[in-house]
């Protein structure tokens, strides 16, 4: 399972734009109460936190598995 640091990194790779990342991060805060830009230590590997963030990103159309595959393909 990915932790929130890895999720943040994947999202950043997908958006490739700090401005866009800031907007999506703010949306995540309001949907989950959690920040992926200023991570709280207790959230980083929390299954509940990871599930909430992953679900919210999926609702916004960010498929982390697909992003990861593309990233590996580029690497």
């Amino acid at each position: 399972m990915r932790d929130l640091r890895q999720i943040r990194s994947l999202l950043g790779e997908s958006l490739m734009d700090e401005g866009k990342l800031a907007l999506v991060s703010a949306r995540l805060i309001l949907r989950t109460g959690m920040s992926i830009t200023e991570l709280r230590p207790e959230h980083v590997q929390s299954p509940a936190a990871i599930a909430k963030v992953t679900l919210a990103l999926a609702e916004m159309g960010f498929d982390l598995d697909a992003i990861s595959k593309r990233s590996k393909g580029r690497g």
Partner: protein, 375 residues
């Protein structure tokens, strides 16, 4: 030469007279988009149609209010409006999202209209070039769903705005789009902006307590039942230092809850105590969220500071914009009798706005001033 941006207001009650008065004041801006904010006594749909007749190339949205604003006037029972000219806006499109068959589907249909009109893939839109305005019906508690649906459709585009009001009667609010109206929907405006712009929000609060975990909620009904595993009313009363029986509007207004994340304050305002021991809010708080009880820091000074920072972000040149000010901030301003000082904060700008039943920017928030400002 066109002025590119113009604000206006009118006290005319008749829709045609009001529209004609506004049109005469807005004409110099060569409008590409017009946002108007009308008292609930006005026929906003007719007003919008008349403005479209006057400016056929302009996208026109509006809503009813809990009071109207310009840089010159603190109004009630009137209409305020802002025209953005073709010198500032390359193109603009407006769409009415009707929620009759669900919020998400209504927003999705409206989004398709905006996408088609601007020949734009909303998911790929550049947030430095495109920005949206959203005016949501204010009584159906559907703002979170509407903002989430916008985020699902266009996650990297800011939609900023507020919830329609009816001057504190809490009976019926309406939104308007190109001459149509809805009391169960949202008016959307998408702008392709040719000049620098900033979306900003400010609230005049700072944490007055440590943060506490919200542990039991009814999300849909915006009710908090427990904080740190204890009855919410007990915890809140203790933190604000008043007996449970003395919790009233004045306490709620002075001490909302705040999420403090990434250095930003996201305010959640209590509305009332419920007989079942719940504390009802004006927007949702999710289980597990950590909240502070907040205290006021000075509304007018904070507003001035925020506008000064916006001006700096725009490179020192700021022409005006739209302001969405919470009705609870209006009540605080009324109580402090600082209306003139608040309005003077916008001196030198072309500004129109209204007092809202909630503010929107990426989500639904309270006791905040959200705004869209242009160089």
């Amino acid at each position: 030469m066109a002025r590119d941006i113009a604000s206006a207001y009118t006290r005319a009650l008749d829709a045609s007279a009001a529209a004609d008065d506004l049109a005469a004041q807005l004409e110099a801006a060569d409008p590409a988009a017009i946002s108007f904010f009308a008292s609930h006594h006005h026929d906003g749909a007719a007003l919008g149609r008349r403005l479209r007749q006057a400016f056929p190339r302009a996208a026109v949205i509006g809503c009813t209010t809990a009071g109207e604003l310009t840089q010159e006037a603190w109004l009630s029972g009137a209409v305020s409006a802002l025209a953005l000219g073709h010198g500032k806006i390359r193109s603009a499109a407006a769409a009415l999202a009707r929620f009759d068959q669900g919020v998400a589907s209504g927003i999705a249909r409206a989004g398709e209209q905006l996408s088609t009109a601007l020949a734009l893939d909303l998911r790929q839109a550049d947030p430095r070039r495109y920005v949206g305005v959203v005016l949501v019906e204010g009584l159906g508690m559907q703002e979170e769903a509407a903002n989430d649906a916008l985020g699902n459709l266009a996650p990297t585009v800011s939609f900023v705005g507020g919830s329609a009001g009816d001057d504190g009667e809490f009976k019926r609010t309406r939104v308007f789009c190109n001459g149509e109206e809805s009391d169960n929907g949202a008016a959307l405006l998408l702008l392709d902006v040719a000049v620098p712009f900033v979306v900003a929000k400010t609230c005049s609060f700072e944490p007055a307590s440590a943060d506490y975990a919200v542990t039991r909620v009814d999300v849909e009904r915006r009710i908090v039942y427990e904080i740190d595993g204890r009855p919410a009313l007990e915890v809140y009363a203790s933190l604000v230092g008043v007996p449970k029986g003395a919790l009233d509007d004045s306490v709620f207004m002075a001490h909302p809850f705040g999420l403090m994340i990434d250095g930003k304050r996201w305010i959640r305002s209590p509305q009332r105590v419920l007989p079942d021991g719940g504390l009802k809010f004006y927007c949702q708080i999710l289980e597990g969220m950590r909240v502070h009880v907040m205290r006021s820091t000075g509304l007018v000074a904070d507003t001035r500071r925020e506008l000064s920072q916006v001006r700096a972000r725009l490179g020192g040149s700021m022409s005006g914009g739209l302001a969405f000010n919470c009705i609870l901030r209006r009540k605080e301003i009324d109580a402090m009798q600082t209306q003139d000082a608040f309005i003077e904060s916008f001196g030198g700008l072309q500004m129109a706005g209204f007092h809202t039943y909630g503010e929107s920017w990426l989500g639904h928030i309270n006791q905040t001033l959200t705004g869209l400002w242009f160089a």
